[in-house]
Amino acid sequence: MDFSLFPRDLFADLERLQRQMQQTIEASPSIRGFARGGFPALNVAGTPDSVEIYAFAPGLDTQSIHLQLERGVLSISGIRTDELPARDSAASVHLRERFSGRFHRVLTLSDDLDPDQVSATYRDGVLHVSIARKAAAKPRRINVN
Protein backbone atom coordinates (compact mmCIF):
# COMPACT_ATOMS: atom_id res chain seq x y z
CA MET A 1 0.00 0.00 0.00
CA ASP A 2 1.40 3.38 -0.91
CA PHE A 3 -0.94 5.54 1.11
CA SER A 4 0.50 7.13 4.20
CA LEU A 5 -0.69 9.85 6.56
CA PHE A 6 2.74 11.40 6.38
CA PRO A 7 3.96 11.18 2.79
CA ARG A 8 7.58 11.66 3.70
CA ASP A 9 8.89 10.78 0.29
CA LEU A 10 7.11 13.83 -1.17
CA PHE A 11 10.25 15.87 -0.58
CA ALA A 12 12.40 13.22 -2.16
CA ASP A 13 10.08 13.26 -5.19
CA LEU A 14 10.29 17.04 -5.42
CA GLU A 15 14.06 16.93 -5.21
CA ARG A 16 14.21 14.35 -7.94
CA LEU A 17 11.91 16.39 -10.13
CA GLN A 18 14.12 19.42 -9.62
CA ARG A 19 17.20 17.37 -10.47
CA GLN A 20 15.58 16.02 -13.62
CA MET A 21 14.56 19.51 -14.71
CA GLN A 22 18.06 20.78 -14.09
CA GLN A 23 19.46 18.02 -16.25
CA THR A 24 17.12 18.98 -19.07
CA ILE A 25 17.79 22.70 -18.86
CA GLU A 26 21.55 22.50 -18.43
CA ALA A 27 22.02 19.98 -21.18
CA SER A 28 24.72 21.89 -23.00
CA PRO A 29 27.62 22.57 -20.68
CA SER A 30 30.48 24.71 -21.91
CA ILE A 31 34.16 23.82 -21.85
CA ARG A 32 35.19 22.78 -18.33
CA GLY A 33 31.82 23.94 -17.01
CA PHE A 34 29.55 21.01 -16.35
CA ALA A 35 25.94 20.78 -15.41
CA ARG A 36 25.63 20.43 -11.65
CA GLY A 37 23.59 17.79 -9.93
CA GLY A 38 22.16 14.71 -11.48
CA PHE A 39 23.30 11.13 -11.43
CA PRO A 40 26.08 10.19 -11.25
CA ALA A 41 27.82 12.95 -9.29
CA LEU A 42 31.17 13.79 -10.89
CA ASN A 43 34.54 14.93 -9.67
CA VAL A 44 37.05 15.91 -12.31
CA ALA A 45 40.72 16.54 -11.72
CA GLY A 46 43.80 16.92 -13.83
CA THR A 47 47.48 16.10 -13.68
CA PRO A 48 50.12 17.25 -16.20
CA ASP A 49 49.83 13.82 -17.87
CA SER A 50 46.14 12.98 -17.64
CA VAL A 51 42.58 13.92 -16.79
CA GLU A 52 40.92 11.88 -14.04
CA ILE A 53 37.15 11.59 -13.83
CA TYR A 54 35.41 10.03 -10.85
CA ALA A 55 31.72 9.20 -11.33
CA PHE A 56 29.90 8.30 -8.11
CA ALA A 57 27.56 5.68 -9.49
CA PRO A 58 26.86 2.99 -6.89
CA GLY A 59 24.95 -0.21 -7.51
CA LEU A 60 25.63 -0.61 -11.21
CA ASP A 61 26.41 -3.65 -13.28
CA THR A 62 29.58 -2.92 -15.27
CA GLN A 63 27.86 -4.33 -18.36
CA SER A 64 25.24 -1.59 -18.17
CA ILE A 65 27.67 1.35 -18.11
CA HIS A 66 28.13 2.98 -21.49
CA LEU A 67 31.18 5.19 -21.89
CA GLN A 68 32.05 7.13 -24.99
CA LEU A 69 34.80 9.61 -25.77
CA GLU A 70 34.57 11.63 -28.91
CA ARG A 71 36.52 14.79 -29.69
CA GLY A 72 37.08 15.68 -26.07
CA VAL A 73 33.48 15.00 -25.09
CA LEU A 74 32.96 12.16 -22.65
CA SER A 75 29.50 10.73 -22.21
CA ILE A 76 28.51 8.38 -19.41
CA SER A 77 25.16 6.68 -19.67
CA GLY A 78 23.35 3.63 -18.44
CA ILE A 79 20.46 2.40 -16.40
CA ARG A 80 20.05 1.81 -12.70
CA THR A 81 17.36 -0.56 -11.57
CA ASP A 82 15.22 -0.11 -8.52
CA GLU A 83 15.52 -2.70 -5.75
CA LEU A 84 12.36 -1.61 -4.01
CA PRO A 85 9.24 -3.76 -4.03
CA ALA A 86 6.66 -3.02 -6.71
CA ARG A 87 4.05 -0.45 -5.83
CA ASP A 88 1.24 -2.96 -5.83
CA SER A 89 2.93 -5.45 -3.50
CA ALA A 90 2.16 -5.94 0.19
CA ALA A 91 5.27 -4.02 1.22
CA SER A 92 5.21 -0.27 1.76
CA VAL A 93 7.93 2.18 0.85
CA HIS A 94 8.73 4.81 3.49
CA LEU A 95 11.61 6.62 1.81
CA ARG A 96 12.54 6.73 -1.85
CA GLU A 97 15.51 9.03 -2.34
CA ARG A 98 17.93 6.98 -4.41
CA PHE A 99 18.15 7.52 -8.13
CA SER A 100 16.64 4.92 -10.43
CA GLY A 101 16.13 4.78 -14.17
CA ARG A 102 18.19 5.94 -17.11
CA PHE A 103 21.02 8.39 -16.68
CA HIS A 104 23.18 10.30 -19.10
CA ARG A 105 25.85 12.85 -18.36
CA VAL A 106 28.11 14.60 -20.80
CA LEU A 107 31.41 16.26 -19.99
CA THR A 108 33.27 18.63 -22.24
CA LEU A 109 36.95 18.01 -21.61
CA SER A 110 39.92 19.75 -23.10
CA ASP A 111 40.93 18.83 -26.66
CA ASP A 112 44.49 17.76 -25.83
CA LEU A 113 43.41 14.25 -24.78
CA ASP A 114 44.47 11.03 -26.43
CA PRO A 115 41.37 8.94 -27.21
CA ASP A 116 43.55 5.83 -27.53
CA GLN A 117 44.80 6.00 -23.96
CA VAL A 118 41.71 5.70 -21.82
CA SER A 119 41.23 3.37 -18.89
CA ALA A 120 38.06 2.86 -16.89
CA THR A 121 37.67 0.93 -13.65
CA TYR A 122 34.62 0.42 -11.47
CA ARG A 123 35.30 -0.12 -7.80
CA ASP A 124 33.07 0.26 -4.72
CA GLY A 125 30.50 2.07 -6.82
CA VAL A 126 32.89 4.66 -8.24
CA LEU A 127 33.71 4.69 -11.93
CA HIS A 128 37.19 6.06 -12.46
CA VAL A 129 38.08 7.14 -15.99
CA SER A 130 41.63 8.17 -16.71
CA ILE A 131 42.46 9.80 -20.04
CA ALA A 132 46.05 10.55 -20.98
CA ARG A 133 47.03 13.85 -22.54
CA LYS A 134 48.68 13.82 -25.94
CA ALA A 135 52.45 13.91 -25.70
CA ALA A 136 52.64 17.16 -27.68
CA ALA A 137 50.28 18.89 -25.26
CA LYS A 138 52.27 18.16 -22.11
CA PRO A 139 53.98 21.21 -20.66
CA ARG A 140 57.65 21.27 -21.52
CA ARG A 141 60.36 23.27 -19.89
CA ILE A 142 62.05 25.57 -22.36
CA ASN A 143 65.67 26.27 -21.74
CA VAL A 144 66.73 29.89 -21.88
CA ASN A 145 70.17 30.36 -23.34
Partner: protein
Protein backbone atom coordinates in the same frame (compact mmCIF):
# COMPACT_ATOMS: atom_id res chain seq x y z
CA UNK B 1 11.83 3.88 11.80
CA UNK B 2 12.24 7.64 11.71
CA UNK B 3 15.15 9.79 10.82
CA UNK B 4 16.99 11.42 13.68
CA UNK B 5 18.33 14.84 12.77
CA UNK B 6 19.60 15.79 16.20
CA UNK B 7 23.33 15.36 16.45
CA UNK B 8 23.96 16.53 19.97
CA UNK B 9 24.35 13.29 21.91
CA UNK B 10 26.52 11.28 19.57
CA UNK B 11 30.13 10.22 19.17
CA UNK B 12 32.96 12.61 18.24
CA UNK B 13 32.48 11.68 14.59
CA UNK B 14 29.55 14.09 14.43
CA UNK B 15 31.91 17.01 14.76
CA UNK B 16 33.34 16.29 11.34
CA UNK B 17 31.16 17.31 8.42
CA UNK B 18 29.78 14.41 6.42
CA UNK B 19 27.57 13.80 3.41
CA UNK B 20 24.02 12.54 3.96
CA UNK B 21 23.62 9.48 1.75
CA UNK B 22 20.31 9.04 -0.08
CA UNK B 23 18.33 6.04 1.19
CA UNK B 24 15.38 3.87 0.24
CA UNK B 25 13.39 2.28 3.05
CA UNK B 26 10.80 -0.42 2.49
CA UNK B 27 8.76 -2.37 5.00
CA UNK B 28 7.13 -5.77 4.68
CA UNK B 29 5.54 -8.15 7.17
CA UNK B 30 8.91 -9.52 8.30
CA UNK B 31 10.82 -6.30 8.80
CA UNK B 32 12.45 -3.25 7.25
CA UNK B 33 15.00 -3.10 4.44
CA UNK B 34 17.15 -0.02 4.00
CA UNK B 35 19.35 0.73 1.00
CA UNK B 36 21.93 3.53 1.18
CA UNK B 37 24.17 4.85 -1.59
CA UNK B 38 27.74 4.97 -0.30
CA UNK B 39 29.93 5.19 -3.39
CA UNK B 40 33.66 4.93 -2.75
CA UNK B 41 33.29 3.01 0.51
CA UNK B 42 35.04 -0.32 1.03
CA UNK B 43 33.79 -2.84 3.59
CA UNK B 44 36.48 -2.06 6.16
CA UNK B 45 35.61 1.64 6.19
CA UNK B 46 31.93 1.07 6.92
CA UNK B 47 30.38 1.13 10.36
CA UNK B 48 26.73 0.20 10.89
CA UNK B 49 25.64 -0.09 14.48
CA UNK B 50 22.69 0.25 16.80
CA UNK B 51 23.06 2.33 19.94
CA UNK B 52 19.97 2.05 22.09
CA UNK B 53 17.13 2.86 19.71
CA UNK B 54 19.37 4.58 17.16
CA UNK B 55 20.72 3.11 13.95
CA UNK B 56 23.94 4.83 12.92
CA UNK B 57 25.53 4.50 9.50
CA UNK B 58 29.04 5.92 9.18
CA UNK B 59 31.45 5.39 6.33
CA UNK B 60 34.64 6.79 4.87
CA UNK B 61 35.61 6.87 1.22
CA UNK B 62 38.90 5.33 0.28
CA UNK B 63 39.66 6.65 -3.18
CA UNK B 64 43.08 6.13 -4.62
CA UNK B 65 44.05 9.31 -6.38
CA UNK B 66 47.21 10.05 -8.31
CA UNK B 67 49.74 12.50 -6.97
CA UNK B 68 49.76 16.15 -8.03
CA UNK B 69 46.05 16.02 -8.77
CA UNK B 70 44.37 19.37 -9.33
CA UNK B 71 40.61 19.43 -9.02
CA UNK B 72 38.80 21.25 -11.79
CA UNK B 73 35.23 20.31 -10.93
CA UNK B 74 33.92 18.97 -7.61
CA UNK B 75 30.43 17.71 -6.82
CA UNK B 76 31.36 15.29 -4.04
CA UNK B 77 33.31 17.48 -1.66
CA UNK B 78 33.55 15.41 1.52
CA UNK B 79 35.14 11.99 1.96
CA UNK B 80 32.67 10.58 4.48
CA UNK B 81 29.00 9.75 5.00
CA UNK B 82 26.80 9.73 8.04
CA UNK B 83 23.11 9.17 8.66
CA UNK B 84 21.17 8.38 11.81
CA UNK B 85 17.72 6.85 12.23
CA UNK B 86 15.58 6.24 15.30
CA UNK B 87 14.24 2.70 15.43
CA UNK B 88 10.83 1.79 16.73
CA UNK B 89 10.44 -0.81 19.45
CA UNK B 90 8.93 -3.46 17.19
CA UNK B 91 12.28 -4.00 15.47
CA UNK B 92 14.80 -6.51 16.76
CA UNK B 93 18.19 -4.75 16.66
CA UNK B 94 19.97 -7.99 17.59
CA UNK B 95 19.09 -9.52 14.25
CA UNK B 96 20.46 -6.82 11.98
CA UNK B 97 22.25 -7.82 8.81
CA UNK B 98 24.26 -5.53 6.55
CA UNK B 99 25.67 -6.13 3.08
CA UNK B 100 27.78 -3.80 0.95
CA UNK B 101 28.05 -4.29 -2.78
CA UNK B 102 29.27 -1.82 -5.42
CA UNK B 103 28.85 1.05 -2.98
CA UNK B 104 25.28 0.19 -2.01
CA UNK B 105 24.59 -0.75 1.60
CA UNK B 106 21.65 -3.02 2.32
CA UNK B 107 20.50 -3.25 5.94
CA UNK B 108 17.82 -5.69 6.98
CA UNK B 109 16.07 -5.26 10.32
CA UNK B 110 13.78 -8.07 11.44
CA UNK B 111 10.63 -7.39 13.36
CA UNK B 112 10.49 -8.79 16.87
CA UNK B 113 8.35 -11.96 17.07
CA UNK B 114 5.60 -10.27 19.09
CA UNK B 115 5.33 -7.43 16.58
CA UNK B 116 4.70 -9.52 13.46
CA UNK B 117 1.23 -9.11 12.04
CA UNK B 118 -1.16 -11.83 13.04
CA UNK B 119 -4.41 -12.62 11.42
CA UNK B 120 -7.22 -12.40 13.91
CA UNK B 121 -9.99 -14.88 13.44
CA UNK B 122 -13.45 -13.44 13.54
CA UNK B 123 -15.86 -15.68 15.36
CA UNK B 124 -19.45 -15.84 14.41
CA UNK B 125 -21.67 -15.47 17.42
Amino acid sequence: MTENKSTTRDSPATERPALVPPVDVAEDAGGITLYADLPGVARDRLDVHVDGDTLIIEAEMGLEMPQELQATHIEVSLPRYRRVFTLSRDLDAERLTAELKHGVLKVRLQKAEHAKPRRIKVQTG
